[in-house]
Each structure stands twice: as C-alpha cells, then as structure tokens.
Amino acid sequence: MSETAPKTTAAGAAQESTVRDPATRLGAGPGRLLVTLYGVFTVAAASRSIYQLIAQYDRAPLAYLLSAGSALVYGFITFSLVRGGEGARRAAIVCCALELLGVVGIGTWTLVDPAAFADSTVWSYYGMDYLFIPVALPITGLMWLRRARTATA
C-alpha cells in the first residue's frame, strides 16, 4: 500500500508547523477544519447557483442570485484563511460578519415572507438544507479569527 510512503513527509511537516510564521497560521490547527468547511461550502454554493442560474434562471431569480452572493462570500473567506496575515484576517472578519448577517437576514426573510422565494437558497431557513452549518460556520469563524489575533499579538 502506498500509505506508508507519505509518512516521512508527514513527519517533516509536523516539525515545520512548530516554527511556522504567524502569516500562515490562519489556516493551521483548527483553522484547517474551517478552511475545509468553507471550501466545501464554496464549491457547493457556487456549483449550485451557477447550475440554477444557467438552467432555470426564470424560476426564482432572487433565490439564485442570493445563492451566488453567498458563494462569493464563502470563496473570499476560504481564500483569506489560506492566504493568512493580518490584512486577510481583518478582511475575513468583515466577511464572516457579512455571512452571519446574510444567514440571519435571509433566514428570517424566508420565515416571514416565504412567497418571495420560489426556490430555496443556501441560506433559507438559517441553512436548514445544509444541517444548519451555514449559521454555525460564521460564529466559529469569528471566534477563531479573534483568537488568531491574540495568538499572533
């Protein structure tokens, strides 16, 4: 099995991580899990909205455009977390706050006025279609980004 081969490189990576510079720390440790989840949601929201915008735009333009918007936010946060550094951290904080506002706003909107949405978005009903991860993600994201600052300071 080829599984034994990467072990040496893995051990090397472990040693590197202890001397890792602060600029790359955003995507390490718990940040790695966040990067993965944000990456998954970027792909999910982007492919979903692109498909729906092309194949069935007329059915629910508002819902699909909102999904596309959320895909952009997810993509930007993923990029910021991977890139690291203070600037990226601040940009990610703004985007996570925007994401939280979006989830809470659209979630409430779908509850108050379901008629406005002919089809659901990624953030409908606080992300119920996605196991409520969309509402949990920005909160964990903001907590991690706050802690990352105190760690580097």
Partner: protein, 122 residues
C-alpha cells in the same frame, strides 16, 4: 446506481468519520491505518463512479438531471482524498477532524445521490 453500493459507501463513510473523529477526540493525528481506511472508502467511490457512468451511457437518466447527478458524483469521489491530503500537512488532531468532516460530507452526498438518481428504482 446499485443501491447496495450507495449504502456501502454511506456506511463506510460514517464509520471513517467516527474513527477519525475519535482520533481527533484523543488528540491524535491521522495514522497509516486511517489512510488505509480512507483508501478503502475512496476506492468504493471510484467503483461507484465507474458503475454510474456505465449505467448513464447505458441510457438511464437520473430523475433530477444528469448534470446535477454528475456534479454530486464527482464531489463524492473528491471528498475523502482531498481531506486526506489536508490531514497530511496538518499533523495534529485538527487533521483528523478535517477527515471526519470530509467523511460526513461524503455520507450526505450519498443520500443526495440516491435521491437524484431516483431512489430505489434501478
């Protein structure tokens, strides 16, 4: 799509998620045995991909569209290997947690695949 295969991928994905989640809980990085587990799940996904493509070329049309089905199918194949590589460069408990998250995503994708294909009917 063979229902038994879809269920097999879903169940092994859940088992892998629990196993790697346990490793994360015990503050351990992914080890060789975990990678063998990931290889088994990934292999099942590749078999599923081949079977599905053969059946698609054989004339079956998924209930909710071929494009949607193929997108989910490719996502399912990529899930575990992608998070596996992530855990190679993150040799902490968080690498294990990442693989666990990827496996949960795979299990969810299998449920959706079953649904898009037209659950139950072959």
């Amino acid at each position: 799509m063979i229902d038994a295969l879809t269920i097999a991928v879903g169940v092994t994905a859940c088992a892998l998620a629990a196993w790697c989640g346990f490793a994360a809980y015990r503050n351990e990085p992914t080890k060789d045995w975990h990678f063998i587990g990931m290889a088994v799940v990934s292999l099942l996904c590749v078999v599923q991909l081949i079977v599905a493509i053969v059946q698609l070329t054989g004339g079956h049309t998924p209930d909710k569209g071929t494009a949607l089905f193929l997108a989910y199918l490719l996502g399912a194949v990529a899930c575990v290997p992608a998070t596996g590589f992530m855990s190679l460069s993150e040799r902490t408990r968080w690498g294990s947690a990442t693989v666990a998250a990827g496996s949960v995503v795979l299990a969810v994708l299998e449920v959706r695949l079953f649904d898009i294909w037209g659950g139950g009917s072959v």
